[in-house]
């Protein structure tokens, strides 16, 4: 292989292309991850898929025969309502994250200058802190004796504490708080690639800033919007801690039901079918999003 003139270009120069590639070498490098994925990711998922078609007997034992009972139950009454709540909260959170995330991603990409990395770090760092702890803090702030209520009462704006916890509003704010960074990062990545000269050209040609945004900026950042939506919607709809801590028993999401079946009720078939249904719904949404958004979305994720 020839050494290219441009020593820093890595993509092609780095990849060794011998005519014969020892499959042994591929095997050596790839087998650890393959074993990990097959044994501890695919097999467990296949097993809950299997368990989701079993049912629980009278004494809580697992009856090993094919049954659709769990899935039938899912489409009736309570569980269906929980599914719908999760879906609505997912959609609402997603829209809120887009509306909040877009301005900040745009600001950093366009006006960040030498502060860019610092600003991005400011967004990434808190999102890495254990989200159990962050939600606990969130709860402390929004609680009856929390900072917000104390502050408002001290200033005489309200007479008695507002009850914020255990409402779907606070669950949504909590979801936005938790997952917003996952919207900002891909949006920023796609806006970063936007050529400023395109915007200048549009302005020179007399386009109004609003028109310029909808005709140029937004369409060109479509990949980022879709990638961000995928990264926010999936964990949001499948969230458990946010509704468990902020929603209590008032606002239930599918995550709560899954956690309840596994950690409290110990009903493996019912829990498995809920988890399978959740995963299936999200995979379907992911598939549609990628089909609609194409490759541009994936580029902003990986």
């Amino acid at each position: 292989m020839e050494v290219s003139e441009n020593t820093s270009s890595s993509q092609n120069t780095g990849v060794v292309k011998h005519k014969k590639r020892f499959p042994v070498e591929v095997f050596l490098y790839i087998s650890p991850i393959t074993i990990l994925l097959v044994v501890f990711v695919f097999a467990p998922l296949a097993i809950i898929l299997y368990f989701s078609f079993l049912k629980t007997g009278l004494f809580g034992e697992i009856v090993y025969e094919f049954s659709l009972e769990n899935f039938k139950e899912m489409f009736s009454g309570g569980t269906r309502q929980v599914f719908l709540t999760s879906f609505y909260l997912g959609v609402q959170t997603n829209i809120a994250c887009l509306l909040l995330g877009y301005p900040i991603a745009y600001f950093i990409a366009r006006y960040g200058g030498k502060w860019k990395i610092f600003l991005i770090s400011l967004i990434i760092i808190p999102s890495w802190v254990a989200y159990l702890i962050r939600l606990y803090a969130f709860k402390t702030i929004a609680g009856t004796n929390g900072i917000i209520n104390t502050f408002l009462m001290d200033w005489g704006i309200i007479d008695e504490p507002i009850k914020m916890l255990y409402t779907s509003g606070v669950v949504m704010v909590g979801l936005v708080y938790t997952w917003l960074p996952f919207m900002i990062l891909p949006l920023h990545a796609s806006l970063e690639g936007l050529e400023p000269c395109l915007l200048e050209a549009a302005t020179d040609l007399g386009a109004h800033p609003i028109r310029r945004f909808f005709r140029i900026t937004l369409p060109l950042s479509r990949g980022g919007v879709i990638a961000g939506s995928i990264l926010v919607f999936i964990p949001t709809m499948g969230d458990w801690l946010v509704p468990a801590l902020l929603g209590g028993s008032k606002v239930m999401m599918i995550g709560n039901l899954v956690a309840h079946q596994f950690t409290v009720a110990g009903n493996i078939p019912a829990g498995s079918s809920l988890a399978v249904m959740l995963a299936a719904t999200l995979i379907l949404i992911l598939y549609l999003a990628i089909k609609w958004g194409g490759k541009e979305a994936m580029e902003n994720i990986v």
């Binding site: 780095g14 790839i30 600001f107 254990a130 402390t140």
Partner: protein
């Protein structure tokens, strides 16, 4: 005229929104640090400075056990995940083979899948299929499962920025693949590997959901201890543990950034 005026206003409005969003992201973490020094008995308001909750933290044997358990789990996870992550990233970056894209995409599953699904799948797998005892073994395996993809993608990302001409030069000069890796590529990749290792630590140390499902009885990690305490309402000790999490995570991210910067 109108356009010119708008141009000046837009960055300011965007700046204010950005500042508010960043504040919104940081406020809870800062509040928890602040209240860990507050003498308020519930830890939900500022009643004056004290260090007594930290004193309580260090004398509480349950907290100490949980802290040691979490640290041991995170360290083992760091070693195994980084090792597999390095090997995999190298294979994915350097070799061409069938199914490469499949492995890349599949590696995203543990990161993208909602935690409750992964957690449920692993729990059923451990208890109903392979009979791995719940506790250290199940927790460590689970942590390796969701941490390895992180290591793979961190290292893979850094590999794109490395000057691979050095490796070629070494091989052109007659060094074999093994020697090239030990003498040239390995040292070049070291910062990336170290950065990934430092990032995996809080990723494992902070995990609650998956650990909670697969830990069984008695294997209380620090986040599980916090959760069990939360049921009794707010306590100041949670604030001190929370501060520990915030500090450990921020330190890890900053160190990982510094390791990378050095090259």
């Amino acid at each position: 005229m109108k356009n010119i005026k708008r141009k000046k206003i837009a960055p300011k409005v965007l700046f204010i929104i950005s500042a508010l969003v960043i504040f919104f992201q940081w406020a809870p973490a800062l509040v928890i640090i602040l209240f860990s020094f507050s003498s308020n008995k519930l830890g939900v308001a500022w009643d004056g400075f004290t260090l007594k909750w930290y004193g309580e933290l260090f004398t509480n044997s349950e907290v100490k056990d949980a802290l040691i358990r979490s640290t041991v789990i995170a360290l083992i996870t760091v070693v195994v995940s980084t090792l597999i992550g390095t090997i995999t990233a190298y294979g994915l970056f350097k070799l061409h083979f069938k199914g490469k894209e499949f492995i890349r995409t599949s590696s995203l599953i543990p990161i993208v899948m909602p935690e409750v699904v992964t957690a449920a799948a692993l729990l059923v797998f451990f208890t109903r299929f392979v009979h791995i005892p719940l506790g250290y073994p199940s927790i460590i395996i689970s942590h390796i499962v969701f941490s390895t993809p992180l290591a793979v993608f961190v290292i893979l990302g850094r590999m794109q920025r490395i000057d691979w001409a050095w490796e070629e030069a070494a091989m052109d000069l007659g060094a074999n693949r093994y020697r090239t890796f030990i003498r040239v590529t390995g040292p070049q990749l070291m910062p990336a590997i170290a950065a990934a290792a430092v990032m995996v630590f809080p990723w494992s140390f902070d995990d609650f959901v998956i650990t909670y499902f697969v830990s069984g009885i008695g294997s209380t990690t620090l986040p599980i201890y916090v959760y069990s305490q939360m049921r009794f309402g707010a306590t100041p000790v949670i604030n001190t543990i929370g501060t520990l999490f915030v500090v450990v995570t921020i330190a890890a991210l900053v160190i990982s950034r510094m390791i990378e910067r050095r090259t």
